[in-house]
């Protein structure tokens, strides 16, 4: 009953083409934004903000970027972490070269560097498809990581071989470094993620998104309809890497505070890919849900053990967490192979016909 579209008529194509054509969805979104922007920083607390929410948003952004490439355009990529690294290192270099310029500008600008690198490694996608394409992106992953280790210029010759986020401010308040409050860091991350999500939603709902999906679903037919494959795929690589790059910069500057090249390792790439898949390929919401599941679930599970009054060693908790997460991933897939976003859609569908079963 709550979820009824009856009576909501669209009188213009404009209204019908809105991203959220249904009123309840718009209200829901408003509530979520309100919670995220107001309630969370007010009541969240340090641990929730810095150890849960910020990482989650960063991962969601990276997953969103990868989703544009893999979910929307159908190009499998295993180089996500590498592209994130490019963003992080680019931002690091930029902000050490031009410390006066606001960090936010550089965080966004660093995305362009990873976009450029993404395009280069996207070139083989014209000829190579599917799992085979993974090798091109793997080459990117390993080559980039090697560069992060091997080119001292990238990390300003630091003895530790790591990059450290220098202290930068926004409106006179520190947003990086030890004095930055979790609330402020969270809000900065959230704003950037929200902005980029909005842009992504614009892209995928328009001509570009349609060409991407066309290439994904049936590339030959797309080509026969005048969609040129290479530019379309490369654009997807560029946009996707842009997102990953920004996520990488956010990760180092507003979350970790400093990072070794090891942070951008292949396992991170896989992790993000799995967030995308479990969240739902080709779904923006899915990226957030996937990040929440894969990153958040272990944290929740871990805190569950003490709550249940079980005292088991930290290692055993970890083992069991691994097993449970693994089992849950499989379970979710069995319930709904097309990801959490699809479960979400089914629930909406059920709500729509409620109280009837179908």
């Amino acid at each position: 009953m709550l979820y009824r579209e009856t009576g909501q008529f669209k009188t213009s194509y404009k209204a019908d083409m809105a991203v959220f054509p249904i009123r309840q969805d718009r209200i829901g979104l408003a509530i979520i934004l309100l919670l995220a922007f107001v309630a969370m920083p007010l009541f969240g607390g340090g641990f929730l903000l810095s150890a849960v929410m910020i990482p989650l948003l960063v991962f969601a952004l990276a997953a969103l970027g990868l989703n544009l490439l893999t979910g929307y355009t159908g190009q499998l990529s295993l180089g996500t972490a590498g592209f994130m690294g490019v963003g992080a290192y680019a931002c690091y270099k930029l902000t050490t070269f031009f410390p006066e310029v606001n960090l936010i500008v550089w965080i966004l600008a660093s995305g362009f560097f990873s976009a450029a690198v993404g395009v280069v490694f996207g070139l083989p996608s014209l000829r190579i498809k599917g799992f085979y394409l993974a090798v091109a992106t793997l080459a990117a992953q390993f080559f980039l990581q090697w560069c992060f280790i091997r080119i001292p210029w990238l990390y300003n010759n630091n003895v530790s071989g790591a990059i450290e986020a220098p202290v930068r401010t926004l409106f006179g308040m520190p947003i990086t470094g030890p004095h930055a409050t979790p609330e402020l860091r969270y809000l900065v991350v959230l704003s950037i993620v929200a902005l980029l999500t909005w842009i992504a939603s614009n892209l995928v709902h328009g001509r570009i998104g349609r060409s991407w999906m066309a290439v994904r679903d049936m590339d030959i037919a797309a080509e026969l309809m005048g969609i040129r494959l290479l530019p379309t795929k490369l654009l997807a690589f560029a946009v996707s890497s842009f997102y990953c790059g920004v996520a990488g910069a956010l990760m180092v500057f507003l979350w970790y505070g400093s990072a070794e090249p090891e942070v951008f390792s292949i396992s991170q790439s896989f992790l993000i890919l799995f967030m995308v898949i479990i969240g739902g390929l080709g779904s923006l919401i899915g990226s957030f849900l996937g990040a929440a599941l894969i990153y958040g679930l272990p944290i929740v599970l871990k805190s569950l053990f003490p709550m249940l009054g079980l005292s088991v060693g930290a290692a055993t908790v970890e083992h069991i967490t691994f097993m449970v997460v693994g089992a849950m991933i499989i379970g979710f897939l069995i319930v709904e192979p097309h990801g959490l976003a699809s479960i979400w859609r089914t629930i909406k569908q059920k709500l729509r016909v409620w109280p009837f079963p179908y």
């Binding site: 192979p337 089914t346 059920k350 016909v353 179908y358």
Partner: protein
Amino acid sequence: MDSSAAPAPPGEVSREAGRDVILAVNNIEVIYDHVILVLKGVSLEVPRGGVVALLGGNGAGKTTTLKAISNLLRAERGEVTRGSIMFQGERVDRMSPNELVRRGCIQVMEGRHCFGHLTIEENLLTGAFTRRDGAAAIRQDLEKVYGYFPRLRERRKSMAGYTSGGEQQMCAIGRALMSRPALVLLDEPSMGLAPQIVGEIFEIVKELNASENVSFLLAEQNTNMALKYATYGYILETGRVVMDGDAEMLRANADVKEFYLGVSEGDRKSFRAVKSYRRRKRWLT
């Protein structure tokens, strides 16, 4: 309208209990994706040695019915939520497709579904996967299929993925025949085939039916052909059986004539002559 047009309530299917029924579908209901209700109580039966046609427009649920019988629904996230399916007196709705094939019920899926990376011959041989009667017998049947479809013999070493649409269709039919079935569920066998081959396929159906007592349930858009070769027919509309009867009777029915055979008043009309779009008359609203 005929009284049998109403969907048969459960239990009534066996009204002709004396007859030897190879397949009985009893008031089944099918749901896709947990929410999309497609079949709303379909009952039908195929007598042993019968050729039964399943007619109906686009989206009526013919394919869904056949998949429900052969248990391929689950692979598409559909499920039979009500009713039962009996094959040779056994309940089969919980059985795996391969057990069903082993028992002699095989489906030729709509849209070909050949194994693209296998050659035509390998495709045909996989059809014999469940058979245990030795390589010689299989070879013999292979020759028989090549006899039916000489075009396949020419292309036997080609990867099926590269062959033309019609060749793939022949391959799919031939592959099913390789399993020596007792009941074949044919989904749109004539689709994409040259007229001559369409004729041949129905001849094959007839021959197998006559010589080896194979039963057929065919979902076919080519109503003319289907009713010519079938003994009995069901007409499906939006997930319900709206009419059934002997092929003769159906062919004589005015509605069927008009909407499925296109011979409303006397002669066949030219397609060019159809000037206005005809709204399909619904049996049920």
